[in-house]
C-alpha cells in the first residue's frame, strides 16, 4: 500500500470525528427547535441552515475562507483561530457541510416523538428540562444517533470546502478524498481506484449503521 494512504486515512477519521463533535450538538439543538418550537423567522432559519446542502461545497469553502482570513470579518477581529491551511480548517469545513444533514435528521427524529407523551410528562409534574432529558431525548435516541452518524459520513467524504479552507497537506489536512484527487492528477489511476474502494467501504459501514438505527422498531425506538 502507498505510504500516503495510512496518514490520509488517519487524517480523514480524525477530521470527520472532530467535525461531528463540532456540529453534533448545535445540529441536534437546532433540530429540536425546528421540531418543537415556533418562533419568528423560523422558515428563514430553516432555509439558511439547509443552504450548505445545495450550495456548491466550493462556495461554502470560499465563504469560510473569506470569513476567517486575516482581513475577513472574524480574522480582523482576532478570531481567525488559525484555521486556514491547518487541520482545524478541515474540521471547520467538514462540520459546516455536515451540519444541515445533522439538523434535518435530528428534526425528523424529534418529530417522531409523540408530543402527547411530553404533555403527559408535564401533566405529571415534570419540569421542561426533565421532559427533555427523561422523555424526549431517550425516545429520539436512535434518530439522533443516525443524525450524528450521517454527519460523520458526510464529513468523511468532504472535498470541496476542505480543499479551499485547509488545502491538501499530507499528514495534516490531506484526507482520503483529497488524496484521490491528487493521485488522479498524477495519473496514478490504480492507486486512486484502491482509495475509492477504501472510501466505499467506510461509507458503506456508516450508511449501514444509519439504516439499522432508523429501522429498529419496538421498545428502544
Amino acid at each position: 500500500m502507498d505510504g500516503s494512504v495510512l496518514p490520509a486515512l488517519s487524517v480523514t477519521l480524525r477530521v470527520a470525528l472532530a467535525a461531528t463533535v463540532l456540529c453534533g450538538l448545535p445540529g441536534v439543538a437546532l433540530g429540536y427547535l425546528l421540531a418543537r418550537r415556533s418562533f419568528p423567522g423560523k422558515i428563514a432559519v430553516e432555509t439558511l441552515s439547509a443552504l450548505p446542502l445545495v450550495l456548491p461545497p466550493t462556495a461554502v469553502g470560499f465563504l469560510l475562507l473569506r470569513l476567517f482570513s486575516l482581513d475577513g470579518p472574524l480574522g480582523a477581529a482576532g478570531l481567525s483561530f488559525d484555521v486556514l491551511l491547518t487541520w482545524k480548517g478541515a474540521v471547520l469545513a467538514s462540520a459546516a457541510m455536515a451540519f444541515p444533514l445533522v439538523a434535518r435528521t435530528a428534526r425528523v427524529a424529534f418529530e417522531g416523538v409523540e408530543p402527547r407523551l411530553e404533555t403527559m410528562a408535564r401533566s405529571l409534574g415534570f419540569s421542561r428540562t426533565r421532559v427533555l432529558v427523561a422523555v424526549t431525548l431517550p425516545l429520539a435516541r436512535r434518530g439522533l444517533l443516525a443524525a450524528v452518524a450521517l454527519g460523520f459520513g458526510r464529513a468523511l467524504g468532504e472535498f470541496g470546502a476542505t480543499a479551499i479552507v485547509a488545502g491538501s497537506i499530507a499528514g495534516e489536512t490531506q484526507t482520503l478524498s483529497l488524496l484521490i484527487y491528487e493521485e488522479l492528477n498524477l495519473g496514478h489511476d490504480a492507486a486512486a481506484l484502491r482509495l475509492v474502494g477504501l472510501t466505499a467501504v467506510l461509507a458503506f459501514g456508516v450508511l449501514f449503521a444509519v439504516e439499522r438505527l432508523l429501522r429498529a422498531k419496538g421498545v428502544a425506538r
Binding site: 403527559m120 401533566s123 421498545v219
Partner: protein, 360 residues
Amino acid sequence: MSAVAIRLELALGAFELECALELDSKSVGIFGPSGAGKTSLLEAVAGWRRPRAGRVAVGGRVLFDSAAGVDLPPGARGVGYVPQEGLLFPHWDVRRNVRAGRGRGGGEELFERALDVLELRPLLARGVATLSGGERQRVALARALCSAPELLLFDEPLGGLDLPLRRRILPYLVRVREAFDVPLLFVSHDPTEVQAVCDHVVVLAQGRVTAEGAPLAVLGGPGVGGTDFENVLRGEVATSGEATAELCVPPGLRVQVPLRGLREGDTALFGLRADDILISVAPEPPRGLSARNVLPARVVRLDARGADVVLCAVPLSAAGPGPELLVGLTPGAVRELELAPGRAVHLVFKTQSCHLLTVV
C-alpha cells in the same frame, strides 16, 4: 360547594362544546356518541386544551377561569388523566411508568396501594410494549393515582376493543372507586359499565349536555341506550350452594345467581339484560317454572323505545322497595297484560340470566 364545577365553551371542529356541570357525586359517567366532545371535555379539565371561556374548579380550587385570567398548567392542576391511548412511556418498564406519577408529590404509600388495587406487582419489571390493552390501562390508571390527584379523569378507549375485553377494566375501576377517595370523571361507551361504576351520568351530544341524573334514569330513559339495556344488581353473597349463590340486594331482595367462584360475604355486581326478564300479572307468584327468580314488583312507568316498550319496575321486599329494574317488552304484550304504572306484577328471570360483572 360542588366537588367539581365545570363551565366550558370550547371550539371543536364542527361545533362548539358548551357545558355547565356541577358535580357532587363521587363518580360521574360521561356518555354519548363518538364525536360528542367527551374527550375534549376531559382534556380541557386536564389543561391539555384551552377553552375559549369558562371556569373549572375542583374542591373549591380554581384551575381555570377565563374571566379572572387563571389558567393553571397541567402539572399544577392536581388532575390525574388517563387518556384513551394510555400514553405510557414506551422506553420504561411498568415500575418506572407508575413511579412517574410521583413527580407531583404522591408518596411511597400511594404507590404501593395503587400497585395492590390494580394488581400490578407481577408486571412491574415488564416493558410496556409487551402489555395487553387492559394491562396498559391499569398501568396508566396506577400512574394517575400515584400523582395524588384531587380529580381522576378516565377516558375509555372505544376503537377495536370488543366488549369482554373492555369490561376487563371494570373491576379495577370499581375497586379504585372503593379504595381511593378521589372523584372520578369517566368517559364510557358502555351503559352497563357506567351503572356499575358511577352514581351520576351526563349525556353529551354535539357538544351539549342532553341528559343528566342517576344512571338508571338517564341510561334507561328514551334516546340514550338501545333496547339491549342491562340492569346492574349489586349485593352481598348470602349463601352459596352447589352451582348457585344467593345475592342479597339491599334492602331485602334475594336473587339466585350463578356461583362463579363466589364466596359468602363477597360483594358482587351482576348484569341482567332487560330482555331477559319476564312479567307475570297473575295475582299469585307463578309456579312450576324453571326460572328461580320470581320477585313481586310494582310498575313505575312505561316508555316507548322505537318499536319496543321499556317498562320500569321496582321489586318489593319485606324490608322495602329495591333498586329499579328495566324490562324490555313488545307493545302487544303491554296491551294484552294491561300494564300500567302502579300495577302489581311479578318479575321472572333465570339464574343463568344473571352474569357476573365483577367482585368488589
